[in-house]
Structures are given as structure tokens and as C-alpha cells.
């Protein structure tokens, strides 16, 4: 308690230091008077009385200093003095201050921005309550896409009952596509994206409605009145944030649907579960309605009971899995999920894959910070030698070494704080821009912001930077020999030569760091170019897609044949009309576009073979298409395309991709062969054609198997109209939509998406990291160039006299220039060699992020080394040019 009291006393004394000082002065004055009086009383003459009194006090100023020290916070007093002094000196040298603060702002800003991204993806918990309890339950990854990553409704019911590790398990319908909701407010229908979730979805995630309520079990029963939850963003955008929206009903997909609530802004389905997409509305999934028999459609999300470890849940999952049934109607499907129930922390599922990229990114900005520090060190060193006499003088007047180092560190801290403030502003701009880049497929991106942790990080790196760049020059100066510095009038003195060596080391390390950054960026860039050059199996340019609404329902249709026939008529008409539009070169329909959603229907095998021979094959992804689609996508085809004659009654035909054809018929042409179900003679499919492999899930992975069915023989889950054109795709948007409207007034205003956008979206995560690393490398190169320029031009200035003498003795301008350049390049080459060696050693870190690029790719290394040396040459050439234009007479007269 007493220490606290004393501390407060000290604070008080510090705050009220002026009255304290005044009081002390009064006391000292009284003291002096009394001493003089006493001395006078002893019979001394007036002058001597005063002198002796002063001697016995022992220095007024010293008494004041001691007094301040005793009453507390002397350090703050010193700090204030140092700060005042620093601000004054920095103010007097605005060009130095500006450059230093700018360098620091760039480096610190980049660090804060990257930290925010890292924080968002790795450090911060997911935006759900007790998010660490949430797990994503899925089979290990396979090639058959979403259908092998999801579960059936029967499996869901079973799992929910049998598992003991979870408070509850929920999930959502994984196959809803974008723009699947059409809202009619009177005019033309408005499209939006909705997603079906199991009714307990929000309870499990711990999300409450901002207005109204979330779903209850009643909302998902058979015959329940249709209800919808609006996301915050859609409520604001489409309904102008109507405060009385809850309870209102709207025509959605032809049904009067009641809005029961609005979700909070912090809940962003797309950001968490489908990066790069937006979801506008959430609807309840009726598990006991039609989806019952749709097969694997649900993703599982569980909330572990408190105290249940992940290992326990995994063990339980492995134990339950063999008992789960795909469909109770087919007992032989019980056991299909063996080894396919594996819970992983939801956070790992969402951002685990990005960990390596983030580490690389972090390392890159760390290197930037180091380069900036080296630059600052250099600048401060140059400044320090200019000020060495000032410091020597202060030392001679009694300032201790510690006091001088302290003054210099204060200066560094002021600089880095200013840099941090500007850096923070820079980062804030960058971060808010990034948070609004909805097209980047990076999870949680919309939640990106600068939070308290980022502020703490800012303080940390600012202090770190200040110590790193302030310490070397500080110690350098403080250790200097006073006499030497006071005498050191010009060139050739030994202390300055030592400075020069330090500066050379700094430049070399700077170049080495920049080299590592450049190599990393070069490798990522090359990988990205390789990704862009991947043969996707379709031509993304000059093609676009639009979602088409159609009604193929036929009352009393027993086996779907009538619907199929009706669909054929509708699609044929649409394709004929759209195909005749000017500029349209080809048109076709598909239900799922590549690089988007997908599904599998099991594996057909060559007729006559037993399906048990192919037990562990991943089923091919299924696409239901119309005639003309393959051509419209620009996919190569062997054999024939579907025709409108391939109807419900004619022979069932399919197209399969090369990989699948090669697997089943390694040495024969698959065209004309027949696929069967591997059990009996039913469900035979004739292979009408073989198409090239399409990258259906991602650009930088391997293509799996694909099988195409005709829209008139199988049921599509929607229709995307794909158009190939010679014109820019955007120019056709209006005419296509108008045509679709003429054919079907119910056609909503759907987005006309260039196929190129799908590819861009698929590579946007890679592009994001590549761009960041490349811009950091550019920044690093710039800083390194600045550093080289600074050091060389400083040394030229210092050697003016020497150069003057040499020129007077007959050295030509060319020789002088060459010598300066050679010195520059020597430093740069040492730096490049060290940097390249470090890159070669550290390349493993980046290897997993590369695509068809060796981490030791010679071309990248060589081109980056050349680029770096060229930049070094240019930065050295300016001072070299200046050196060669030194006028010997002027230079010699200068001293």
C-alpha cells in the first residue's frame, strides 16, 4: 500500500513540478540569506560571506537536480528534454526526416496490413461464440468433388443420434447454386442467392438474429409455411434496412415467403464457408421433404461438448462411420461411409491451407522491415558522422555515454513512432480496400480490420525497428574517441573509415535481403504465369454464361420422360433463338459450370465387368448438358456431340473425359463402347464421344473424371446458358437477356458472367498472395536502391578531395566513373551472392506454394540477380557521374 502511496506522491510531484521547483527556489533563497547572515554575524565582509554561503550549499543547480531526482520521475524529465531536443533537430532537417519517416511508414504499414490478414486467418477465433468447439466433419479429400465430401439425410439422422461427443450437429445443403432465388416485387424478378441450412444451424454456430428470430424445428417440417432469414447486407441493400421487415411476406421463387428475421452484420456465410461468394438469404432445409433421397447433399458442422477433445471425436467418428447408411432403402449402402467421418477444427478447414502462404507473406514483410531498418541505420550513420563533433562536445562537457545513447535512441523512437502513425494510416487504407474485395476467394476477408492486436503489433514493431536501426549508430558514436572526433576534420581519418566499413556491411545485407525477396516473388510470379497457362480443357475467353429459368414440370409425369421432352423443346427453342443473335458463334446449356459446384452419381463401369472390381474408384463428376455446350465451351471432342434426337426414348448416351476413357479402355478407342452398372444389364450407357479433361474443381490441381449426360435423358439441377462469341462478351448481355425474357417472362435479371471471371475467381487466392509478395519485393528493391545510392553518394562526397587529386594527376572522368561503379557493383555482387545462397537454402519454405516451378528455378534466380545488379548499377551511376564531373581545382581548394 505504502509503495502505491509513494508512487502517487511521485506522480503528483511530477505533474506539479513547477510549483515544486518554485518552492525549492524559495527555500534555497531563504537558506542562502540565513547562511549569509550567519557569516556576517561572524564578522566576515559581505562579499566573502556570500561566497562562503554559496560554497557550503555546494551548487544551486546541483541541489535542484538532486531534489528533482529524489522526488521522482527524473527519467521522464530527461525524456521530455530529449524529446524536445529531438523534435527540434528533426524539424531542422526536414529532408532527412521526410525520407526516414516515409521509409518507415511503408515498411511498418506493410507489416500492419499483413499482420491484420494473418490475425484474421490464423490468430483470431472465428466470428462465432466458443468457436474452438466447432468442427467440420467430412471425408478425407477425394477426386469426386462435393458429392464425396457430403452426407445423406439418413446418415445425418443416424450420426446425430449415435454420436456422443457433440452438443449438436448441423449442416447445410451443399449444392445450391448462385442466383437460385428470384424475388418478385412487382417488376421483373430480382435474383439473389440463398442457401438451405438445417434448422439448428444458428443454434449450433451460436448466432442470434439481430431482429426477429432464427429457425425452429417447425420451420423445416413438411407443410410448414415458407420462411426466410435475410443477411444484414441484403436487408440493407434490397430492403433499404426496413426496420419493420420482420413478418412481411414476399414472393420468392413463386411462393409467399415470410421474413422471420435479419441476421447480424457479423454473420457472413460466404466469408466463412464459400470464400469469394455472397449469400443473401438463408432458408430452412426440410430433411423430410424431397431432399430425403437426393443422396449426399449435406455438409456436417458439429459443436463439441465442453471438455471433449478432438481426438475423442475422431475416434468416435471412426467407430460410428461403418454403421452409417447412405440410404435405409438400400441396406447394402450401410457402411459406405467407412473411414469417411473425420472431424477437423472448423478453423483449420477454413484457413488451414493458407498457413504456408501466410508464413511466406509474413517473412516477406519482415524482410521489408529489416531492409527499412538497414536503410535508416545508414541514414543515421551518415547523419551521425556529420554530428560527431556535436556529440564529442557534449561528451567533453560531461554527458555520459549512456546519456548520449539514450538521446539517440529517443531520436530513433520518435522517427519510428512517426513512421508507425503514418504506416497505420497506410495500412488502414489498404485493409479497408482489401475487406471490400469480394471477388478474392479468401475466407473471412470481409471481416478484415485493424484491431487492438494489430495496434499492439504496431507498437512492438515500431520499438523493435527503433532499437534495431538506432542502436548501431548510437553505439558507434558513443564509443568514438572524443579527441579523435574533435580533431577528425575531414577525409582519411580512421574513425570515418570504420564508419565506411559498417556502411558497406549494411548495404550488402540490404542487397541480400532484397535478393531473397525478389527470388521469392519471381518464383511466385512464374508459378502464377504457369497457372494461367494451364490448359483448362475449355476456352475461358470470349465466352459467358447466364442462369436460365425454365419450367419443365408436366402434371402426371410418372418417370420424368414427359418433363425431359418438354425441356428439350424449351432448350432447343432458346438455343435456336440465342444462337441466331448477331455475334453469337455457339450456345449450349449446362447445369454446373466448371470451377464451381459439382456432384457425382456413382461409377459406371464397362459393360460386362463387375462393379466389385472397381470398389474404391472415385465416381466421375456429372454434368448434364445440351447439344452445343461442348462446342460453346471450346472443349475438344472426339466422336459425336449430343443431338436433340437423343431423347428419353432413344438409347442412353454419354460423353466421358480422356482420363476416364484411358482408364477403362487403355488400348482402345472408347467411342462407341458401352458402360453399365456392373451388376445387371440395366442402365446401359453408350459412349458417344470422348472430351478432353476439364479442370472442374481448381486450376492448379489435377483433373479427375467427368461424365456428361444429355439434358433430355437425365435431369439437370438448373441451366446455365453458355455463349461463345467473337465480340466482347459484355456487349451481348442485353440482347441475350431480352431474348430470354421474350421466351419466358419469368426469366429474372441474372448476371451475365464472362467465363474468364470463373477462372479469375479460382486463381484469385494465388493471385492475391503473388501480388502482395511481388509488391513487397518491388518495395524492397526500391529501398535497397535508395540505400545503395545513399551510401555511394555519401562516400563520393567524402572522397571529393581524393578524386580531385587523382584527376589533377591525370585520371580521366571515365576512370573515376568506372571506379565508383566498380565499388558499387562489388557490394551488390556480394549481396546478391549471399542473398541467392540464402534463397537456395530457404527455398523449401516456399516450395509448396509453387506450381510447376522448381524452388531452384535457374531462370528466376538469374533474372532476379540481373535485375538487382542493374538497379544497383543505376543507383551507383548517379554518384559516379557526379564524381567524374568534379572540378579538380575547386575540389582541392575546398579544404
Amino acid at each position: 500500500m505504502s509503495w502505491l502511496w509513494r508512487f502517487l506522491g511521485r506522480v503528483w510531484a511530477f505533474v506539479r513540478r513547477r510549483p515544486f521547483d518554485a518552492e525549492l527556489d524559495a527555500e534555497l533563497a531563504a537558506h542562502l540569506e540565513m547562511a549569509i547572515e550567519d557569516n556576517l554575524a561572524h564578522g566576515l565582509p559581505a562579499a566573502e560571506a556570500r561566497r562562503l554561503a554559496l560554497v557550503s550549499i555546494g551548487g544551486m543547480e546541483q541541489a535542484r537536480y538532486r531534489h528533482r531526482e529524489a522526488r521522482g520521475f527524473m527519467n521522464i524529465d530527461i525524456l521530455m528534454q530529449d524529446l524536445k531536443f529531438t523534435v527540434r533537430t528533426l524539424w531542422r532537417d526536414p529532408s532527412f526526416t521526410t525520407v526516414a519517416v516515409l521509409i518507415l511508414a511503408l515498411a511498418i504499414g506493410a507489416n500492419i496490413a499483413v499482420f491484420s490478414v494473418v490475425n484474421m486467418l490464423l490468430l483470431r477465433p472465428l466470428p462465432f461464440s466458443n468457436a474452438q468447439q466447432l468442427v467440420w466433419i467430412a471425408p478425407p479429400p477425394t477426386k469426386c468433388g462435393l458429392s464425396c465430401a457430403t452426407y445423406s439425410t439418413d446418415a445425418y439422422d443416424q450420426f446425430r443420434v449415435m454420436s456422443r461427443s457433440y452438443q449438436d450437429v448441423t449442416g447445410y445443403f451443399a449444392f445450391s447454386s448462385a442466383d437460385n432465388l428470384s424475388l418478385s416485387l412487382g417488376g421483373p424478378p430480382i435474383t439473389a442467392t440463398s442457401i438451405d441450412v438445417i434448422q439448428n444451424f444458428f443454434q449450433v454456430l451460436g448466432v442470434r438474429a439481430q431482429m426477429g428470430r432464427v429457425f425452429t424445428p417447425e420451420d423445416a417440417r413438411n407443410g410448414a409455411a415458407p420462411v426466410v432469414l435475410l443477411t444484414h447486407a441484403w436487408w440493407k441493400r434490397q430492403f433499404n434496412g426496413d426496420p419493420n421487415i420482420v413478418g412481411k411476406a414476399f414472393d420468392m421463387n413463386g411462393q409467399q415467403t415470410t421474413v422471420i428475421g435479419v441476421l447480424p452484420a457479423s454473420f457472413d456465410f460466404g466469408a466463412v464457408f464459400a470464400p469469394g461468394t455472397k449469400v443473401d438469404a438463408i432458408t430452412p432445409l426440410n430433411l423430410y421433404g424431397p431432399p430425403r433421397d437426393w443422396g449426399n447433399i449435406i455438409t456436417f458442422i458439429g459443436r463439441l461438448k465442453p471438455g471433449v477433445a478432438l481426438a475423442q471425436a475422431r475416434e468416435e467418428g471412426a467407430r460410428i462411420a461403418p454403421h452409417l447408411c447412405w440410404n435405409f432403402k438400400y441396406p447394402q449402402t450401410c457402411g459406405d461411409y467407412k473411414n469417411a467421418v473425420v472431424p477437423v477444427p472448423l478453423k483449420d478447414y477454413i484457413s488451414g491451407k493458407l498457413q504456408r502462404s501466410l508464413v511466406v507473406l509474413w517473412a516477406a514483410v519482415g524482410a521489408i522491415l529489416l531492409i527499412a531498418c538497414v536503410n535508416l541505420s545508414n541514414l543515421l550513420l551518415a547523419r551521425a558522422s556529420a554530428r560527431s563533433k556535436e556529440f564529442a562536445m557534449r561528451g567533453a562537457l560531461g554527458a555520459s555515454r549512456g546519456r548520449i545513447v539514450r538521446q539517440l535512441l529517443t531520436e530513433s523512437l520518435v522517427l519510428s513512432s512517426a513512421g508507425a502513425v503514418f504506416g497505420l494510416m497506410l495500412a488502414a487504407v489498404l485493409v479497408s480496400w482489401l475487406a471490400h474485395q469480394g471477388a478474392i476467394a479468401l475466407p473471412l476477408l470481409s471481416t478484415l480490420h485493424i484491431d487492438a492486436a494489430a495496434l499492439g503489433w504496431t507498437v512492438l514493431i515500431a520499438v523493435f525497428a527503433a532499437v534495431v536501426f538506432g542502436l548501431v549508430p548510437g553505439l558507434r558514436i558513443a564509443s568514438g574517441n572524443l579527441q579523435e572526433s574533435l580533431k577528425d576534420a575531414g577525409p582519411g581519418a580512421s574513425a570515418s573509415r570504420k564508419h565506411e566499413r559498417i556502411r558497406s556491411i549494411l548495404v550488402v545485407s540490404e542487397v541480400a535481403l532484397a535478393c531473397m525477396l525478389l527470388v521469392g516473388a519471381g518464383l511466385l510470379l512464374r508459378s502464377f504465369i504457369n497457372v494461367l497457362n494451364v490448359d483448362l480443357g475449355f476456352q475461358p475467353d470470349r465466352a459467358a454464361a447466364i442462369k436460365v429459368k425454365y419450367d419443365d414440370s408436366v402434371p402426371g409425369d410418372k418417370n420424368g420422360d414427359l418433363s425431359a421432352a418438354k425441356r428439350g423443346v424449351i432448350f432447343q427453342q432458346i438455343l435456336a433463338r440465342v444462337g441466331s443473335l448477331p455475334g453469337v458463334e455457339g450456345a449450349g446449356m449446362v447445369d454446373y459450370l466448371p470451377l464451381g459446384q459439382n456432384r457425382a452419381w456413382g461409377t459406371p463401369v464397362p459393360k460386362g465387368r463387375n462393379r466389385n472390381d472397381f470398389k474404391d474408384l472415385a465416381g466421375p463428376l456429372v454434368y448434364v448438358i445440351s447439344p452445343g455446350y461442348i462446342r460453346a465451351m471450346g472443349t475438344r471432342l472426339r466422336g459425336r456431340d449430343f443431338t436433340w434426337d437423343d431423347g428419353p426414348k432413344s438409347e442412353q448416351v454419354v460423353l466421358i473425359n480422356e482420363s476416364m476413357a484411358r482408364f477403362f479402355w487403355p488400348n482402345e478407342d472408347a467411342v462407341g463402347k458401352i458402360l453399365g452398372n456392373g451388376v445387371d444389364d440395366k442402365n446401359n450407357l453408350r459412349v458417344a464421344g470422348v472430351v478432353e479433361d476439364v479442370h472442374e474443381e481448381n486450376v492448379d490441381g489435377e483433373a479427375g473424371w467427368q461424365i456428361y449426360y444429355s439434358m433430355t435423358q437425365a435431369t439437370p439441377s438448373g441451366a446455365e446458358l453458355v455463349i461463345r462469341t467473337g465480340l466482347p462478351p459484355g456487349s451481348l448481355a442485353t440482347s441475350v437477356l431480352t431474348t430470354l425474357r421474350e421466351l419466358n417472362p419469368q426469366q429474372p435479371t441474372a448476371e451475365f458472367k464472362p467465363i474468364r471471371l470463373l477462372v479469375n475467381h479460382a486463381v484469385s487466392g494465388r493471385q492475391f498472395f503473388m501480388l502482395l509478395v511481388v509488391s513487397f519485393a518491388t518495395l524492397g528493391l526500391l529501398l535497397a536502391a535508395l540505400g545503395i545510392y545513399g551510401v555511394i553518394s555519401y562516400s563520393v562526397t567524402r572522397q571529393t578531395q581524393e578524386i580531385g587529386i587523382r584527376m589533377a594527376l591525370g585520371a580521366s572522368a571515365g576512370i573515376v566513373r568506372r571506379q565508383v561503379l566498380a565499388g558499387t557493383l562489388r557490394l551488390a555482387i556480394i549481396g546478391v551472392v549471399l542473398g541467392a545462397a540464402a534463397s537456395i537454402a530457404g527455398a523449401r519454405l516456399i516450395a509448396s506454394l509453387l506450381f510447376e516451378t522448381s524452388p531452384w528455378d535457374a531462370m528466376t534466380y538469374i533474372s532476379m540477380a540481373i535485375a538487382l545488379l542493374a538497379v544497383a548499377g543505376i543507383s551507383g551511376y548517379i554518384p559516379a557521374f557526379r564524381a567524374s564531373h568534379i572540378n579538380p581545382t575547386v575540389a582541392l581548394r575546398a579544404n
Binding site: A13, E27, A30, M34, A35, I57, G58, R71
Partner: protein
Amino acid sequence: MSPEKLDLLQGTLDLMVLQTLTVMGSLHGYGIARRIEQVSGNEVLLNQGTIYASLVRLEQREWIASRWGTSDNNRKAKFYSITAAGRRQLTADARYWERLKDVMQRVMTMDKSAEGGADA
């Protein structure tokens, strides 16, 4: 200021001030300094100015209290007096010094004969 004067050990000045105030009652800074010089027979090297650092430290610890008053020859001065806490502190410190003095005494007067009784 002859070099033979004693340098004050850390903390001893505080104790001297407390003792002086206990004996003399209320006193100003100059008076305290003079009193210590007189009592020590001018043996200690005391820069009178340093007494104020000691006074402010003691006051912050509430071992002494101060108020402005008038001196004998009608001069305004700040008068210090010891508090109850200060008296307690003085007792404790005095006991400490007593022990330290004894120990120093023994150490400084030790001779060869004490060697055998090292375990005593």
C-alpha cells in the same frame, strides 16, 4: 572542503535528518544542515543543498511534515517536523545502525586468534 572530510554513506543523511528533527523539534533546512555540521564537528562532507533532496524524499514517505513559518530573525522559511511514522522509522533505523556498527567493530578489530573459532 578538505579532502579528509567523511563522505556520507548512502541513506545516512536521511537518518541524521530524522534524528536532528527528533531532538530539535521543528526546524528549517538551513538549521538542519548547520546542526548536522556542528554535531559532527565539521567532520562530514555535506553540500548543504543536498539536504533538500533528503527532505523531499522523507516528506514523500510521510516521515516528516512541513509548513511555512517565520524564523527567529523574521525570515520566511519552510519548517520541518518529524511525524509518528518518522519516529517509528527512526527507531528501526537506529537499531539497524547499532547492529551494523557492532558488526563493523568486530570485523575491524579481529585478529589472528579468532581464526580457530570460525565456526563459533
